[in-house]
Symmetry: C2
Subunit: 250 residues, 2 copies
């Protein structure tokens, strides 16, 4: 299996490229519009054909390149079913693995950051790996204060769906803001300051309530655009025209 | 391939168990005397036969269980050739991969923490992984102030042998003192405070010279015992008898 972790600077987003050497089929998990050219180049360099794009959730901090990639490569757009994205070709849910070539991506329903969030589990050979999107981050987790977020649900998603995986399972997050790239379930259980062993649900809710995070700069564009698979809506919020220029026009 | 990262509390040591499911053969990298029973149990639980023990270097902070494991399982003791360990069955060097079953462990000569240190590179399926012993640690590195250590050599080992590996290569260190388990070459190149991009050799030497580390508590026993593959020497330093009781008697 081919596995590449790719980084987008402006929103500190990780995109994952997973390729099947036997069939030449590939998937991009959480591809971003800003790195559209890089991702196409990576596919070409590796001799891979993009079969699917797959988002963990409707992002609030960047635009997905799902539709733009589809327009060039004829890839299919896969989205979490509970997000209700009409332009998606495939509605993904926990009971339906996404198979391409000899590879299987297994969705885990992990709401809390958003109400529709999926994490994706994959067998990498020696280890399992889980792409945790904005649910579990290294030493942290996604925020829970918009898009149907819930601290209580996030706590239960992480404790019951992720922390129950084998400790050696590699954790590949959707973002990191401090240059870290990979962790393990054992590590997060041991030292994640918000979630480690002994942290109860009420403790976690208290931590999340105290974060006082700023409103995401791009959210008023990103959420409606991502509901259109990355196409800018007709009504672009003031000052966000530039973001739409690199995207697919509405 | 089976890959397990196992932790020993008292010296914060990681032992790695690597098994070949096809042949049932296994290797333990840096097994410690304190966790001898656990490691035997792990092998048994996984239905694996221990083919080799393999140390990255002569440890100063714990005793290897190489000889004790050999006495029970008939495993062969592999040690870095430049350590000059007479009791080793196999002298390992950079040009001689250690093969067992369908698995190959590729030694990289990475002196600096000690003058004989080897790291071990392994193809895990989707990614390569490198077990870096006490050469490269997560956000850190091994000390360089004894056993033929050299900050200059460590800098060059990391820059030329490890940081030249693909960025997605997983880094599995020999220790972590903060609950972290795994990193990547890209991560260490980006954020290791002693070694990240832009840190010159002189900067690194300055950092290492300023550490003022305490003398390792067990070193006066561990180094001579590990030169005997984990057998306590005739002349046990005062107050260290207990450490020898769990080992193989001289």
């Amino acid at each position: 299996m081919i596995f590449r972790q790719l980084f987008e600077d402006s929103s500190s987003t990780y995109t994952y490229l997973i390729g099947c050497p036997e069939t030449g089929k590939a998937v991009l998990v959480d591809p971003a519009l800003e790195t559209f050219d890089r991702d196409l180049q990576q596919l070409q360099d590796l001799g891979l054909e993009l079969a699917y794009t797959l988002d963990t959730h409707i992002h609030a901090d960047h635009l997905t390149s799902a539709l733009k990639l589809k327009s060039i490569t004829d890839s299919k757009i896969a989205m979490p079913s509970k997000a209700g994205v009409g332009c998606a070709d495939i509605q993904v849910s926990e009971d339906s693995p996404l198979n391409f070539g000899t590879i299987s991506l297994n969705p885990l329903f992990t709401p809390g950051h958003t109400d529709h969030h999926l994490s994706y589990l994959i067998d990498q050979g020696a280890n399992q790996a889980v792409m945790t999107g904005d649910c579990l981050l290294i030493d942290g987790c996604g925020r829970t204060d918009f898009q149907g977020g819930s601290s209580s649900e996030l706590y239960r998603s992480i404790q019951t769906k992720l922390f129950t995986l084998p400790g050696d399972t590699l954790v590949y997050p959707g973002h990191d803001y401090h240059g870290r790239s990979v962790s393990s379930i054992a590590q997060e259980r041991t030292r994640n300051p918000r979630l480690k062993n002994g942290t109860g649900e009420d403790d976690f809710i208290g931590i999340m309530n105290g974060l006082n995070l700023a409103y995401p700069k791009k959210m008023d564009l990103a959420v409606p655009a991502n509901m259109l698979c990355g196409q800018c809506p007709d009504d672009v919020p003031e000052g966000m025209d530039r973001l739409c220029e690199i995207g697919v026009q509405g």
